[in-house]
């Protein structure tokens, strides 16, 4: 109940500020002849303002008992708040006793100052001490500008990755000025100590760590963090915090001193940022291995247009990306001219789909020049073993589709040099089934898919159950 009353403080405080200031303003104006009539209103305004100041003091005190605010930060605000109430009371008493002397004027001036300072300190408590000043730097969120991480592997796991996230999304309620739930996260000991419900980080145990549990609750859940109306943690940020806790939540380790599963690497890489910046950029983008991490210059628009006119579909992989994918879904005739245009896009081209076209061995010279290629579809084309080894030039290739071509094991083998290759699709090719196991051995890191899967026909597939089967 007391806490409930305390929560009226933020709304009540506006009354003494407004009413007392207008009372003092009217008091000043009433000394002028034109506004002399206002004098009558000053007394009652002072009274109401004084009463609301006392109400604010009481609710404010109750609110401070909740323990969500830092005692030392509150102290000045509290005493000056009491000051407002007491000075306004003295002022009122002097006024009704008609003692409008010099002291009365000094107290009036002091009251204005007190109100302004108390109000400012109160604002700092709710919005953070740098709320006002950060706006001067141009942007309200400028304080969250993260420091640059030129090489994420050399960065400190906590100081450079985890703490900036906590600073941006958590400290405003669990930091120096406020400790909601008695949790303060900006100092290492206090962070590990936890809040009123106990420890929030259990090193090595992500699932049992309250901080992770809270973040993963549905946004509508009242225990969800951060509160649903506040900026939320992004998936990448959650992943990084989980990774840090899972590895024992160390404060003194660099990123490269902690184990990294394949899945975490692209996420970590996405924190690498030479210029610093806030998390808002590309918040949902989970780094994709199908797209190179480094940037590329924009492809020549004229070449793209020419290729489109020639029948190809040319699309950037995403908004704000210069990497391109090209396919010939609506066109089955590949000419040397079209290949020339494709080669001109070699820097940007990461996926090329020539499926179901008349692409033949002669085209491989051109294709082999497209060294940025990560995905290459040559399925249902006229490609044979003859020049397949030219593809060894494509050092970034991860995906190669040769379904429905005349290639054999001999043609494939040289491609074992492509270290990045992860999948080769060889359904309906001329690869000898008996050589399959041996061929796969040549490709330790790539999975060769022979296809030809059979879904057997069971009698039950085509018969009907008529009555319940007795188990």
């Amino acid at each position: 109940m007391l806490e409930f009353l305390g929560r009226f403080h933020p709304v009540l405080v506006h009354l003494p500020i407004g009413i007392l200031l207008i009372a003092l303003l009217m008091q000043y104006l009433s000394t002028k002849e034109k506004y002399a009539g206002l004098s009558e209103a000053v007394t009652i305004s002072l009274l109401i303002g004084m009463l609301s100041a006392f109400a604010s003091c009481i609710t404010g005190y109750l609110l401070s008992l909740s323990g969500e605010y830092d005692r030392s930060a509150i102290s000045w605000h509290m005493w000056m708040g009491f000051g407002v109430a007491i000075v306004s009371a003295l002022l009122y008493v002097r006024r009704i006793n008609n003692r409008r002397d010099k002291i009365y004027k000094i107290m009036s001036g002091a009251l204005v100052l007190l109100i302004i300072i108390t109000g400012h300190l109160g604002g700092n408590l709710t919005h953070g001490a740098d709320y006002l000043t950060s706006a001067l730097e141009g942007k309200a969120d400028a304080k969250f500008k993260r420091k640059p991480i030129p090489d994420v592997q050399q960065a400190m796991a906590y100081n450079d990755l985890v703490q900036p996230i906590l600073a941006e999304k958590c400290f405003s309620c669990h930091g120096p000025t406020k400790q909601k739930g008695k949790l303060r996260m900006d100092q290492q000991e206090l962070l590990m100590k936890g809040g009123k419900d106990g420890v929030v980080i259990k090193p090595g145990n992500t699932d049992e760590s309250e901080i992770i549990k809270r973040v993963l609750l549905p946004r509508e859940d009242e225990h969800h963090m951060s509160p649903k109306e506040k900026p939320q943690l992004t998936q990448k940020e959650i992943t990084v915090i989980k990774w840090w806790i899972g590895n024992g939540a160390p404060f003194d380790k660099k990123v490269n001193q902690l184990p990294q599963a394949d899945s975490i690497k692209p996420v970590l890489l996405s924190f690498q940022n030479a210029e610093g910046g806030s998390s808002e950029e590309g918040s949902a983008t989970i780094a994709d291995k199908d797209i190179p991490a480094e940037q590329v210059t924009k492809a020549d628009e004229k070449t793209i247009d020419a290729l489109r006119k020639a029948g190809a579909i040319v699309i950037p992989v995403a908004q704000n990306s210069n990497y391109l994918q090209v396919n010939f879904l609506n066109d089955t005739v590949i000419t040397p001219e079209k290949l020339q245009l494709i080669v001109q896009l070699k820097k940007q081209l990461v996926s090329l789909k020539l499926s179901n076209t008349n692409t033949n061995d002669a085209a491989l010279d051109a294709i082999a020049q497209c060294t940025s290629l990560i995905k290459l579809f040559l399925d249902h084309t006229l490609i044979t073993d003859k020049d397949l080894s030219k593809l060894n030039n494509l050092s970034k290739l991860r995906y190669l589709n040769l379904v429905g071509t005349a290639v054999t094991a001999n043609g494939i083998k040289p491609l074992a040099q492509l270290k990045q290759l992860k999948r080769i699709y060889l359904y309906q090719t001329k690869v000898d089934k008996t050589l399959w196991a041996e061929l796969q051995k040549q490709f330790p890191s790539a999975k060769l898919d022979s296809g030809g899967y059979i879904v057997p026909s069971f009698p039950s597939d085509t018969s009907l159950v008529q009555r319940p089967i007795v188990q």
Binding site: P218, R219, V317, S321, N327, G451, V455, S457, Q466
Partner: protein, 468 residues
């Protein structure tokens, strides 16, 4: 920040989010041209198989031996207090699992004997066992699943996706719908409607027997040249009026005439499964000449191969109440499983061997689940074993398109009554589908009636745990 602060923020334009939600550019002359996702997506196309009527999770994926122990006992009052069911009244009896379960694949996923084929591809899929919904009638639940609201009028997932990404093949619709099972889903055509999005993004319903699209053939006495000449003439008139009025809808109409003309050739070609080799027919278990699920699944693969963005399949007949043998959990339900098991298994394997599974997101599921209790319609025991509609737990599976292989997500309680860990709402599935295609569901909006709308409304979280 108070109201004043909000107003200030709006004045100074420092609300950075608002600029990020600029609507997707939409060219009325070429509404289906391929467009860019917000970030590189894993999946390029989607095949969504919806089992209309809602299949029983307790006889497919959610193995509950504890429920078997309660078989035939009266339902404990704690499970009934304050609950509302579509048909169950009074105190029903519990119904144990009506199928045997086993663990399959290296992933050891539990799958019932009703799916002998599907159980061989356990290592390719993610099964979500903790689905929940808040609608216990078919039509609203289907609408919720596909449009993000139980009420009419919002665009379906396929419409959102074609609006956002366009389609790679300009000679085919970007969003194709195929139905089987003899009836449409209860929610009718609204589950593939375009709502307030431009109507060019609505699902094009195709038929797997007869003309794939009604009235696609030229009428008797009109050859293709004459058709071309008349379309050219119509478009010429339309171009004139565009010059006069500058209404972009006219451009849209011109492009649709041209697309319709192209489709007359390309649609019958791609919609014809007869030119597929016999071993493919055997693999899917098709029934050429009939309208059946297996034919539709094979068509779906062909369409995706041709660059169609979103293929939506509906199969009707999964409403296993036990009011007659066709809806009995131990008769009709088994037969429905037999109708789809082979084809859906073949689809995954066929996409895989063609190297297309990585970029094709496949989803299979219903609109809600079924009760662990035996249905007692109006308080009387139904003549056959059946289960009533259930909102608190059901299962779906997803595969391909960057979804984890051989993974089980979420759990229900020990009798399968409620999802207890990692609860998933339809919005979460929608958010995940959009994520796999390269869209942040919170940033992917369309302005309508003065505010931006999104598929997931105010909810939805991407199921990052099932994304591999």
């Amino acid at each position: 920040m108070g109201m004043g602060g909000l107003a200030l923020a709006a004045l100074f334009g420092c609300n950075s989010k608002s600029t990020a939600t600029a609507p997707i550019a939409f060219d009325p002359a070429h509404p289906l041209l391929p467009k860019l996702p917000q970030f590189p997506g894993k999946a390029k196309s989607v095949i969504y198989m919806h089992m209309a009527g809602a299949p029983s999770q307790l006889e497919l994926f959610d193995y509950k031996p504890e429920l078997m122990k309660m078989d035939g006992q009266e339902c404990p009052p704690s499970l009934l207090a304050g609950k509302k069911f579509a048909f169950i009244r009074g105190v029903p009896k519990m119904l144990g699992p009506q199928a045997k379960f086993a663990q399959h694949g290296e992933s050891r996923l539990w799958i019932s004997e009703n799916l002998p084929h599907f159980s061989t591809i356990a290592d390719e899929v993610t099964i979500i066992k903790s689905m929940t919904t808040d609608q216990f009638n078919h039509a609203p639940a289907q609408l919720l699943m596909h449009t993000g609201t139980p009420r009419l009028g919002r665009p379906s997932i396929g419409s959102w996706v074609t609006y956002g990404l366009g389609s790679e093949n300009q000679n085919l619709p970007g969003f194709v719908v195929l139905t089987s099972g003899g009836r449409f889903p209860d929610a009718g055509k609204s589950v593939w409607g375009s709502g307030f999005l431009p109507s060019v993004y609505q699902g094009v319903q195709c038929r797997s027997e007869g003309d794939p699209v009604l009235f696609i053939e030229d009428p008797h006495g009109m050859d293709r040249d004459l058709r071309k000449a008349s379309i050219d003439a119509i478009n010429k008139v339309n171009e004139e009026s565009y010059k006069e009025f500058n209404d972009p809808e006219i451009l849209s109409r011109i492009s649709q005439y041209e697309m319709a003309y192209n489709m007359q050739i390309s649609v019958p070609e791609v919609m014809n499964i007869n030119n597929e080799p016999q071993y493919i027919h055997d693999m899917y278990g098709t029934q050429p000449g009939k309208a059946c699920f297996a034919n539709n699944v094979l068509l779906a693969r062909k369409l995706v191969e041709k660059g169609v963005r979103f293929v939506q399949l509906f199969d009707w007949g999964w409403d296993s109440h036990g009011t007659d043998s066709s809806t009995a959990i131990d008769v009709g339900f088994i037969n429905k499983c037999r109708q789809v098991d082979k084809a859906k298994t073949a689809l995954i394997l066929d996409l895989k061997q063609r190297g297309l599974l990585d970029e094709t997101l496949v989803i299979w599921g219903g609109e809600f689940g079924r009760t662990p209790m035996m249905e007692n319609r109006e308080g009387k025991q139904n003549p056959f074993k059946g289960r009533d509609h259930h909102t608190e737990a059901f299962s779906i599976w997803m595969a391909g398109g960057g979804i984890k292989k051989g993974h089980s997500y979420g759990e229900t309680d020990e009798i399968g009554y409620s999802a207890v860990t990692n609860k998933v709402e339809p919005f979460d599935v929608q958010a995940t589908i959009l994520n796999q295609l390269g869209f942040d569901h919170e940033q992917f909006t369309y302005p309508f009636q003065g505010r931006p709308f999104r598929l997931t409304d105010v909810k939805g979280r991407v199921l990052t745990d099932i994304v591999g």
